[in-house]
Symmetry: C2
Subunit: 245 residues, 2 copies
DNA sequence: TTAATTAAGTGGCAATACGCCAATAATATG
DNA sequence: CATATTATTGGCGTATTGCCACTTAATTAA
């Protein structure tokens, strides 16, 4: 049909292809009052106007150089929040998830120390942090309940063999605060000595003096922050009874 | 603008959206003569005609009910091969990967016991198993060298904490054959006793008599196959010194 | 038939890591 | 100063790991 690459590209037109709608959705988690929270937005337009959903949207082919950039842009536009950790979880595409037909979404999961949402936000009616357990009882837009659940599961599993939970804390923090973050994100208790042994063996934190956390009592504690240049998603030995997928 | 969901959907037209091209690519691995091989196809049409690439292609909105179905269909159409294990690895989308502009691909990784490719294959000039080390020295189409590398890395990491390598063997197999598969997929040697202890502790295989593998010498070995209903991607304790990401 | 070779499978042990819990240290509060 | 609270460390029985040599069972060569 075509005789050269150049010739082909001259005649290429995306409308000759049967392309589905592609979007990016972001599940951002934080810790607030010791409880896991997730950031949701209230949809300001159709479809699904008025329902709560994950922040997200479409690729802007002019502005975004890649998918990661799309995710960061959408998050900021819709919530005013910036995240220090963002990772891709999965891509879901099928005929049923959107009333408009075949649609594909790339799901991201992010972690952030608690920060309030912006007052002025684009195209959404509201943006709010919800306690996770409350959020999943809402009647979320599209298939977002499944996306939220998948992101939560990734967070839980990965908290078992990395130090990802450091991203929901503001540095510096104490080991006890870190342990509480792990416990909330893992959904299980950890034995104190085992926790400290493992965190210290991983050697991903550095001590930065000591102090008492806000209104604390009892013995003064050592304060830590993530060691510069260390990969907080690097494998460390698993906590507790490891199982599942 | 619109007054109801129904009204909105009546006026919805995908061409009002700025959508990129979306494809699916599949990296299928097998073991042949004890060496890791990957299945590549030679492109029969522009763009990148004549170059080797991962099998893959576009979603067919009529035929495919979801992305997984697209991946399975493309694999069979282009290579004649069917895989017992297929998992999503990542989604890559940016402006640079395709000369046609912004493009998104969903990358899958599959494992299969060695099977020859079909004689009659659609839209590709050829489909062949390549030794992995040879494949990555080819000048592959688009950014497929990166896709191949990402899939290989997923395979390597996941072989460390699951029994995925069983999928490159035909059952029944001996523990020594399985160990050799692990070693090739992990890229590292494993101590025999430790290997057996862990595999047996995982309890994912069942013994099905004993025999000698094809042309074997030495003591007769017990033969195993995956236990029915067991999840071969379930976590088991990691092999060897665990590190990295 | 016997000895040598090859490969499977097991035994055993020192070193390490883990779970558990109690002791000690350092601070705030009454 | 006594008590409560929280951080940090010590210690120990048990489980797991890495390592290597030994035994078993088959084939092959002499």
């Amino acid at each position: 049909m075509f005789t050269s690459e150049k010739e082909y590209l001259k005649h290429y037109n995306i409308h000759d292809y049967d392309v589905p709608l592609v979007s990016v959705d972001i599940a951002i988690f934080t810790l607030l009052d010791g409880k896991l929270h997730i950031l949701l937005v209230e949809r300001g337009d159709f479809p699904q106007k008025g329902r709560w959903s994950l922040p997200g949207g479409f690729i802007n082919q002019q502005q975004d150089k890649d998918l990661h950039a799309t995710a960061l842009r959408k998050l900021t536009e819709k919530t005013g929040v910036k995240t220090p950790h963002l990772e891709q979880v999965a891509t879901i595409g099928n005929t049923k998830r959107d009333p408009r037909g075949w649609s594909v979404t790339v799901l991201y999961m992010g972690l952030i120390p608690y920060a309030p949402t912006a007052d002025f936000i684009e195209t959404v009616a509201d943006a709010r942090w919800w306690p996770y357990e409350v959020a999943i009882k809402q009647n979320l837009a599209f298939d977002h309940i499944e996306l939220v659940t998948q992101a939560r599961e990734r967070l839980r599993v990965k908290s078992g063999y990395t130090v990802l939970p450091v991203y929901v804390l503001n540095a510096p923090f104490t080991l006890t605060q870190l342990q509480q973050a792990f416990e909330e994100l893992l959904g299980t208790e950890i034995e104190k000595k085992s926790f400290r042994r493992r965190i210290q063996a991983a050697d991903l934190l550095e001590e930065v003096g000591e102090g008492l956390p806000e209104g604390g009592r009892g013995r003064i504690a050592a304060l830590y922050r993530p060691r510069k240049g260390s990969e907080q998603h690097a494998f460390i030995r698993a906590f507790g009874g490891s199982e599942e997928d």
